[in-house]
Amino acid sequence: MNRYKYLIIGNSAGGIGAVEAIRKVDNEGTIAVLSDESYHTYSRPLISYFLADEIAYDKMFYRRSDFYEKRKVEAILGKKAVKIDFDDKAIVLEDGSQVGFESLLLSTGGEPFVPKIAGMETYDYSTFTTLNDALKLRDKLDNGSIKSAVILGGGLIGLKAAEGLFARGINITVVELANRILSPVLDETAAGLIQKVIEQKGIKVLPNHTIAEIVGENGKVNGVLLDKGERIDCDTVIVAIGVRPRIELVKDTPIKINRGIVVDKNMRTTVPNIYACGDCAEVYDFILDNYRLTPLWPTAHVGGRIAGFNMAGVEKEYVWGTGMNSVDFFGFPVISAGFINPPEGQEMEILIKDDPEKMIYKKFLIKDNRIVGMIFVNEVDRAGVILGLMRDKTDITPFKNEIMLEDFGQIYIPENLRRESAALEARV
């Protein structure tokens, strides 16, 4: 059995972040990356662009083809981990072989949540989180077997899938259980603007609905029945409600799980020398000052990076992340971070700029003179300056009246409160 100083399960944002951090401080310690997918590390958020032919297959890859070789990483790909042997400090693979570790990072990611829907056993449906999902859908598009699709879920994944399919000329209906699309990410007004953009393209959006049954004939889907009885014709159904932590490997083990794997600010699990990051873990959120699932690419990468440093003996804390999303629908950009509405029972000052004609919307949530939430629609430039103020918990009293200005930037912030590079470098 090979034993590696660092064993990383997962070959996506978190795992790669860890490899890069480890190699920054330890050029010799052996590293292995293990994944049940056989691909070189690729960018999951790009699958909708790949579907749309906006990005070629060879541009899907997150790092260059010589990435593993250059960093002396053993890439064990296409092999599934089935068990952690805590006594032997080893991972048991599906074929019975074992891979030993001195320290282990669990960056196993998330898996699509698929609710039980009548008709699912008989009729085919797709999920949309992996390259394989995208390749399968591309095949169907290429051979002309789908002309229309119903997407269950109006979140980021569902709407990006809609955008990708739209580019291929598919007739689309998005069914969303909540009262608006993108409900975890945007408030009512912002979501309304995006819905308008999407509907103007001809995509149907149905909030307050869900699919009751997938129906068809001779084993082939030909429509869905909604909860309120309405029928929508379609050739395929895509389930994109969300992802949940992929934690089957740690179930019934000494590693503590809540909704995801429990970690501290050093990304350590409750078992020594075992770390976790990304979609499978409950990580620190600097706005909530608490731990929660944050299944996002940037937070997975930075969480993995912090885990990597700690695994290599360089102690660092992960205090970088909160809910943060930047996405573009048909050229219409939206960015949000932190709170989007005040949570129940909390008083917050809310500043809003709402210009429906120009389709511009901005919102800041302020508590004790600190920004704790932001939404930018269509006017997103320098949004990071605000996120920086949120992270630094800067008292914005001296420039509160200016934060809504279109050209708000560093110059409006008093020099002593500006974040210069030295402070930044000390942070991650």
């Binding site: 790009l46 541009k59 940037p298 573009d328 990071g384 300056v385 050209d407 930044l424 470098e425």
Partner: protein
Amino acid sequence: MKRVVSNEEVCIGCRLCEVWCKVQHSKSKDIIKAFKKETPMARVHVEERGAQSFAVQCRHCEEPDCVYSCITGAMSIDEETGQVMHDPEKCVGCWTCIMVCHRGAILRDERLRRIASKCDLCPGLDIPACVAHCPNEALCLVEEKSE
């Protein structure tokens, strides 16, 4: 690590840095042709408030949030120079880098397709165009040793 820093005490807000950045990143590299026949875009922008002004451009941070957050791998660190590089061919214009750049130094280039745009320290030049043409030496190229 090289980076351009701005001394706001002496910046006069003339925006010549933006002009010469555009010229340097134009096809012709000729100021007349660039402005008449091309649609050049500056990778530096001057922030102004009353009499106060300074140029903002990518600081090529040692721990760059844009690189760590980039969903495609378009942003990367050049291993030899430590510079923060941007590969337009891998960029899809999701603006995640704009969301995390605390300096507000990344701009949207929507001329052909949507991609991020930022200071590349003028490859091929010893002194970046903005520094070379700053009339008041408000912009300086500094080199800091990395850890």
